[in-house]
Amino acid sequence: MGRISQWFDRRGFAAMLIGLPYLWLLALFLLPFLIVVAMSLATKTPTAPPFSFGGDHPWVNGQAYVRVLTDGLYLRAFLTSVGNAGVAMMLCLLLGYPMALGLTRVSKSWRNILLMLVILPFWTSFLLRVYAWMGLMGKNSWFNGLLTDGWNLLVPMDWAVKSIPMMNSNFAVVLVMVYTYLPFMILPLYASLERLDPVLDEAAMDLGSRPWQVFRDVTLPQSVPGIIAGGMLVFIPAAGELVIPSLVGDASSPMIGRLISDEFSSARDWPMASAVAVVLLVLMVGPTMLYSHYQARAEGTK
C-alpha cells in the first residue's frame, strides 16, 4: 500500500496526469488548427489536394483573408450566423432558466425524472428530429394548418393566408436550434443553481426582499457563471451550425458553416474555406479568452 501511494506521489506522475490532456489538445486541436491556418495562406490550384505553396516569394497568399473581409457575402454570412445564434442563445436562456430553477426546487425523485426528460431527446437521432420539424413546418402539415387557421381567425380577412411560410427561413433555423441546444443551456444552469444555498434566499426574504427581489439580488448574480457557460455552449456550436441551416434555412442568406462546407466541397477552394474557418474561430475564441482574462483578474483582486 505504502509503495503504491509513494509511486503516485512522485512528481513525475502528477506531471504526466496534467500533461496528458495537454498532449491530446496539442495533437488533436492545435496541430490541425495550424494546418488549417497554413492552408488558408496557400493558393488554390487544380491539383489534389487542391492547394499549393508554390510560386513567388513570399510563398504565402493572403488573398483569402482579403476576400473574407471585403466580400459582402462573407460579412453577411457572419452576421446571419451571429444573429441566429444570438437569438437562439437568448431564447434558450429564457426557456432554460426557469426549467433549471424548477429542477432545483422539486423533490429528489422528481428531479431525476425531469433531468432524464431533458436529456431524453439525445436518445433519438438528431437528423430524425430535424426532419420531424421539417414535416411540422411544411406547408401541408397539420401543424402549419392549425397555426394558419388560428392566424386567419384572429386577423382581418384581407390578411388571411393559405399557409404560414415557416420553412427555409431564419425563423425555422432559430426554432430548430433552440429545440436542439436547449439541454446544453439547462444542464450548466442547473449545475450552478443547484449549488446555491437556499438559506441565502431565506436570508434575503428575512431582510425585506419579496420573492422577485430575492431572485434579482441573490439567485441571478450567483448564477452568472452558469449563464455564461450555457450561453457559450449554445452560441458557439450554433454559430458554426451546418446541418440545421442546410435543412431548414434560407439558402439565399447562408450561415457561415454552410459557406465553409460549400467552399471545401463544391467550390474546392480550400484556402478560402480555411480562411473563413480561422476567422470564425478567432471571433468565437476571442471573447471567451477576454472573459476568462477579466474573470481571472476579478478573482485576483478578491
Binding site: V199, E202, A203, A204, D206, G208, S209, D217, Q222
Partner: protein, 367 residues
Amino acid sequence: MQDAAEPFLRIEGVSKTFGSFQAVRNVSLSVGKGEIFSLLGGSGCGKTTLLRMLAGFEEPSAGRIFLDGRDMAGVPAWERPVHMMFQSYAIFPHMSVEKNIAYGLKHEALTKAEKADRTREMLELVQLVPFAARKPHQISGGQRQRVALARALARQPKLLLLDEPLAALDKKLREQTQFELMSIQARTGVTFIVVTHDQEEAMTLSDRIAVMDKGEVKQIGSPTEIYEFPASRFVADFIGSINAFDAAVLGVEAGLLRLSVPALGTEVLARGQSGVAEGSKVTLAIRPEKLRLSMEKPADGNAVQGKVRDLAYFGKDSLYRIALPSGVLVQAHAVNARRGDEGARVADWDDEVWLAFDATSAIVLVE
C-alpha cells in the same frame, strides 16, 4: 392602543405539524421588550421550528403569534419587523461586507446618506470598519458572525432571532462573543430570541430560558430558577448534571419532607413542596456541587457513606464518583480550595467518605 399588560411578544397555543409529525405542540409564552430569551433543547425539540414561525418562514398549524400587539398570522417574512441571524450566517457570497450589511436597508425609505450612515454605524458596532470592502471568503468565521449580526440589526428590528449564534465558533472565541452579544443587545435594546442546544450558552446569555422537549415547553424561568428549581426530572437532567433517585414520601414535618430513598439506604429530609402528600412517589435530585464530601461523619443533617470509585481532577475542582452500599453511583463536585500535590485532595481512590447535603439543597420532583 396597546394594552399595558400586553407583553411585547406573545405566543399563544402555537402548534406546527409536518405531515404526521408534530414539531411544536401547543406552545404558549411571553417575552418582554429588551429581553434575551432562549429556547433551549436538544435536536428535534421544535425550537428551530418555533423560531422559523416567528421569522415567518413557517405558518403555525394552530395558535397565534402577537408581536407588539400585532397578529403576525399571514404576514410574510419580508414584511415582519423580525430579523434572523442564521446558524450558517447565510452571508451573501457575492457581496462585500458593507453591501451585506446594507442589504436590508434597500427596502427602507431612507436617503442615500442615511443608509450610508446606518451602515457605517453597524460596521462600527461590530468593529468591522477596516473590513468593509472585503468579500465574505476573505474574513474569519468570527468576523462573518459579526457581519450576520450587523446585517440583521441594520434595519432596527423589533425582534432579533439568533439560531445557534455561537455554535460555529471555537471555545475561546465563543466566550468572548457571548459577552459581545450581550453588550450589543444592551446598547441597541433589541429583544433577542436565541435558539441553542448549549445549556451553558443559554445560562450565560439569557434573562429567561424556555426548556423544550419533543415540541413542548417544559419550563420557563431565569437561569437560576431553571438550575436550582427544575420543575421536572427532564429539566433537572438536561441542565447541568444531577443525581436523581426514586423516593417515597414518609411524612411532612415542619415544612420538611421525610423521604425514604432506597438507593441511599437511609431516610432524608428535603425542603417541602406544595402538592406533595404523604405516600406519594417522587424523585429526589441533588446537584453534584451541593454534596459535601468529608472523611468523618458529619454531626447532623442528611448523610450517606460510600467509597470513592473514580475521580477526575479539573484543576479548580474535582469530580468524584462514589459508590454507595446499594451499588448506586453518585457524582460529587469538590472545590480544590487548598494548593498542593496529590495529598491536597479531599479524598482518594477507594477512600471511605461521607456525603452530606442540606435539606434545602435537595430537589423534590413530582414529575
